[in-house]
Symmetry: C2
């Protein structure tokens, strides 16, 4: 018998309803469903939301959580992160990605857009944990021609191997950034992606210095430079876009580039915070949110990300009506699905069964005048009770299979990185 | 036999230790204590920190959590908060304060500096919940001379009644603000406090408009105006101080005024965010943190408050070394004790036994390279396992006596406010 789950008496958009999941799909949403299912979940005192989509992270960097605190950016990068990354091996990436997946389940995320090393080991970890993910082959040549042939061969090979991946993990191209990848490889990567119908995940204009360097080197901002190379398109997912002028904005809108805002990371390493959300929205750009890796922002919590995002938009604009609750929720759910071309991030019949169940029986949801205000501004992610991805229950009542095995292995391995 | 608690094998400042509590006091801290106690708490995989001190809140405003979201400040105040407050009664304040205390226990706070109405009912609630608090009689005359005599009489009466309070609740004077209280009553309140050795809790320079109005009316900033009146002293606790010039800073330092920064509230209602922490610290001012009431910032979570505080200091200064972890922890613990003149916020023999136990056996503390980085940047307040205040266990393994009675009563009452 096909996998089926019946969720009874759960609150959805302020109404109590039943939901039937069959296979990987939401089959039926109705006030009362009396069908037999393999599994029944009681939804009393609980509210259903779409699973969150974390649109920018480096999952296995959970291993480096707290490794470089309160440091200047260049000290942090040169003295901490890069020396540490040299010691990483496949086993570490495997367990680091598992820890990231565990954390994402605990905080209600069902889908993530990754960018890190040891691709096949990251994919193995994500597959075993059951989360949906986009996993890029990362191109980062540091302008070294000698690496080009090997990168091209490795990328081709990785792409071919990806045919054997669990179907909920999708292969993509990671172009690290215009300041770390040569023109040749930026163009090659973008063309490879286009030829094979793949997404491209790239960092753009994270820091002011990056823009200044780009103008000094190319006479163009990173966005204009990438556009000149023909790299940008509807399949481009651009992380950060924190230092974007009006012309850049127009280009990103025209090319239908998807933008990922990562406020906690931007603040913590002091890259900036005046993300031009209203202008992106009004230009028709699909804006999404991400956490970045745990070396820069320390966790993968999308509820916290929503809160900080909204507080900063209200704060820097001096406008308490900025970033209203309904738009905020869309950034972490519906827009993620749109950006990745997946039928996730929405709760409707026919959509993928990627769902998060929130327990509202607590002080944080009392009084429950506004569920979304409570979720984002009052509660923390410990309100996440149960997580379903691709029609499978991955966490139930906060229990995730194999949790302590993951913690034990990370505790065994991280010391080798110090 | 006197109340005694023995905490075994707990981590304190990266060392495993035992702690003995007798009565309301930390009696002994030693690697191994083999004495008999009324209660033994096993501290394996747990870390001990001082209970947090929330230095500015309006506790019973938990009742208005989520009542006015994404609104312009004046609409929020005139259309939502003030009309709602007119419907408040003593019973509501009692249960609202209980909900606040429940939330504070769940998030590791043992002491709070309150400012709200129905004083005796707030005190009753706090006493029953066992938290330490400072509870002011609030003076807010809106420049109406007709109210003066009654306010003075009521204040005197409330002060006399406070002799009968549980000793962990202290009477204080609340002067709402220089823009809502007449010169006569500001001076009277400050003198009453001085004559009786009481703290004064006041809002200063929360918004830019408040400063502009003060200059228009008095030719002076709020700080300079209050100083001219002789209101400021070492017993003054000044909430916000967000718009402070160099001369104000010098006055606040000279008078030894204690300052409370409330970043989540400041951001959410868009009052500002460039709190001059480094300058206050360098001027020798005792800086503390608060949450403000739940109508403006939605929760009473001091761990989250520390995170947002640090992110904003790093962010607006463009300096990732700003607000390092050790200073940040002091703001919510030691400095709160200093500001309130209480031997709380520190863990040492002879200090008050106001303690919070953190459970580190989770993804958020894995790897545990830096406990404080994990506590503040990775975890959320669900890591708070057990809370002891004044030598009594108020929450154990996240269980608080009477939790559902509080939620049920708030759920019954808040609808009358809508």
């Amino acid at each position: 018998m096909e996998n089926s789950i019946l969720i009874k008496n759960i609150t959805l958009d302020d109404k109590v309803t039943d939901i039937l999941i069959k296979g990987d799909t939401i089959e039926k949403i109705s006030e009362r469903i009396d069908l037999v299912a393999n599994k029944v979940i009681e939804g009393k005192n609980k509210t259903l939301i779409p699973g969150f989509v974390n649109m920018h992270t480096h999952a296995a960097m959970t291993l480096m959580r707290g490794i470089g605190e309160d440091m200047l950016l260049m000290d942090w990068l040169y003295k901490k992160i890069w020396p540490t990354e040299k010691k990483l091996n496949d086993e570490m990436v495997y367990w680091g990605t598992k820890l990231a997946c565990l954390e994402m389940l605990k905080t209600g995320t069902t889908c993530f857009n990754d960018q890190y090393w040891s691709l096949s080991h990251a994919v193995k970890a994500a597959s075993e944990m059951g989360l949906r993910s986009v996993q890029p082959f990362v191109i980062l040549d540091l302008f070294d021609k000698e690496r080009w042939n090997k990168i091209k061969e490795d990328c081709q090979k990785a792409y071919e191997e990806s045919a054997g991946w669990n179907k909920i993990n999708r292969f993509a191209i990671g172009l690290h950034s215009p300041y770390s990848v040569s023109e040749e490889m930026l163009v090659w990567g973008a063309e490879f992606a286009k030829a094979n119908g793949l997404l491209v995940h790239i960092h753009i204009s994270e820091t002011k210095g990056e823009n200044e360097d780009s103008i000094a080197k190319h006479g163009l901002t990173p966005t204009k430079y990438l556009d000149k190379l023909g790299v940008l398109g509807a399949n481009t997912i651009a992380a950060h876009c924190l230092w974007i002028d009006d012309e850049d904005m127009e280009i990103l809108a025209k090319r239908d580039v998807k933008v990922v805002h990562n406020i906690n990371s931007n603040l913590k390493i002091a890259s900036g915070y005046k993300f031009r959300y209203n202008e992106f929205r009004d230009a028709g750009v699909t804006v999404t949110l991400g956490t970045d890796g745990c070396a820069s922002s320390n966790n993968l919590d999308m509820i916290e990300t929503m809160k900080t995002t909204a507080l900063l938009q209200k704060g820097w604009r001096g406008d308490p009506t900025a970033m209203p609750l309904d738009e905020l929720m869309n950034l972490t759910t519906r827009n993620g699905g749109i950006a990745l071309g997946l039928n996730t991030g929405v709760i409707k019949e026919g959509a993928l069964a990627d769902l998060t169940i929130i327990d509202t029986d607590s002080y944080a949801f009392t009084p429950n005048i506004s569920f979304y205000a409570n979720l984002i501004y009052s509660a923390n992610s410990s309100c996440v009770d149960t997580v379903i991805c691709n029609g499978k229950v991955l966490m139930e009542k906060r229990f995730v299979q194999g949790e302590h095995e993951i913690l034990d292995n990370v505790n065994r391995l991280y010391k080798k990185l110090l």
